[in-house]
Point group: C2
Chain length 261, copies 2
DNA sequence: TTGACAACATACTCGGTAGTATGTTCCCTA
DNA sequence: TAGGGAACATACTACCGAGTATGTTGTCAA
């Protein structure tokens, strides 16, 4: 049930650990990705140092460079993982055979929820888009970056198609569909820049927020969603992502991972 | 007609050049701010170096450090200038005694247009918000940063009030006004991340784009704007900002400003 | 049991960059 | 017409951070 989805996304990890002990290796890489996502979220790609990531991991550079060739590669891996999370949340909904209006509403909700649940990764995605305009150093990296942007575009294209379908079926007064799609996603993505959990019921809080955003976005399309769509979504299963704040960990004290007294 | 506006924004330049030759000094500082805005736009605060800015200016570090204490100070100055541009565009409209619906429509248009016309500065504003969450190094800078965020909040508050007024007068089905305001601005700000001029009629292109965005945003509020608002705005006078692309200038060749043969 | 390899840690190099210290030029004033 | 200061340029320091080279430990297979 999760095999045919993956569409064209290259599987998450890349480093040459074919066969061997794939499970443990994958776990370690995931931990690195999580730590990196946190650092990139808080400091940005340029300002975050590899040593920062290592400190969060309670490890040293060596561990990271053993799995990733460069800082840029690490960033790209985090980006891929973020996009994979988005696809896993939205693509199944996109492939369902539901009415256009209901479909776009559900897609929007899934997107908004995975965004709130996996904030650090989503921030990296935003940076990746930004990075695209300035230009990543080497030519080889530029190529990789182009790949990532293409994935991003495929993702946006799902929404564009879904929106086009609604505009068509409901005869909505929207003429510029690419722009409408961007505005639509801009509303949903907005929370990346300011959201942080307020009360204890984090999940309920996020669902309520997402619903409001989706309502706004749908109205932006001049579409009135069937209220039924918003019910029964109260307990969607979005996996909880890494959420620590780094300000605590980030005192200069270098981590001493192997303190064998 | 431009004196009573300035509200609470500290005047643009800060360095101790009271009296003396304020005009020439101001010009030079403006040039630095423009160059810095371009660099920060393209590389981000962390990745952009002071030497980069100097290169764009066809000058050296000395000139920049003569006017600004540190890189952070320079960034803040650019931020202030960006906010000032926004206020100059929107505050007069906000202070007009027009009907709520027309007012918010005009404010939105002004905002969208100044955004498109002054893109580099607007990108810096986005970075400033981001920077707020991570924390600027020293305590003194943190204080300054808080000032800037407060200015930003005052700006957003104008929109929140205007939106609240519309919701009230038109009895719109919007209950969470702060969130609605954020979504509203998210739509208008979206173009910062992807817009670049396509055809020669830059101004016309920008107006058409802005109008579409405003339409989307207003529909998001469930508000139907009077079509008349969008006419007669075809030639609003937004001053054209710096728009060069840096990729040309950014070859390592160090600028030789005073090549007196 | 040995040795080969993965998964790290440690210890280094080296380029880039913020900031400083010190010229140099020009203008304006006394 | 000295001279003082503004507005830069030049030359330098000090540090941080990416990447590398090399050691160390555990594990597993033959």
């Amino acid at each position: 049930m999760s095999e045919p989805l993956r569409s064209g996304i290259a599987s998450l990890s890349e480093s040459r650990s074919d066969a061997a002990a794939p499970e443990a290796t994958g776990r370690s890489q995931d931990a690195i990705l999580n730590a990196a996502a946190l650092c990139f979220r808080d400091y940005g790609f340029a300002a975050a140092s590899i040593d920062d990531v290592a400190r969060v991991l309670n490890a040293t550079k060596g561990r990271i460079y053993h799995h990733f060739r460069s800082k840029t590669d690490l960033f790209f891996a985090v980006y891929r993982r973020g996009m994979a999370l988005n696809f896993e949340a939205v693509e199944p909904v996109f492939n369902e055979k539901t009415a256009p209006l209901e479909k776009i509403a559900k897609m929007a909700l899934s997107h908004a929820l995975v965004l709130l649940a996996q904030m650090p990764y989503q921030r990296v995605l935003a940076q990746g888009v930004h990075m695209h305009q300035t230009g990543a150093t080497t030519a080889a990296q530029r190529e990789t970056l182009a790949d990532l942007i293409e994935i991003r575009n495929r993702y946006e294209m799902m929404f564009r198609k879904a929106i086009a379908a609604v505009v068509d079926s409901e005869d909505l007064p929207v003429n510029d569909i690419p722009l409408a799609t961007r505005s639509f996603l801009a509303v949903l993505n907005g929370s990346v820049y300011w959201y942080s959990p307020k009360n204890d019921d984090i999940h309920g809080e996020q669902v309520r927020l997402a619903v409001k955003q989706v309502r706004f976005a749908l109205r932006g399309l001049a579409a009135s969603p069937p209220e039924s769509v918003f019910d029964s979504w109260a307990n969607s299963q979005i996996p909880a992502g890494p959420y620590e704040t780094l300000s605590d960990t980030h005192n200069k004290a270098v981590a001493t991972p192997h303190t064998t007294t």
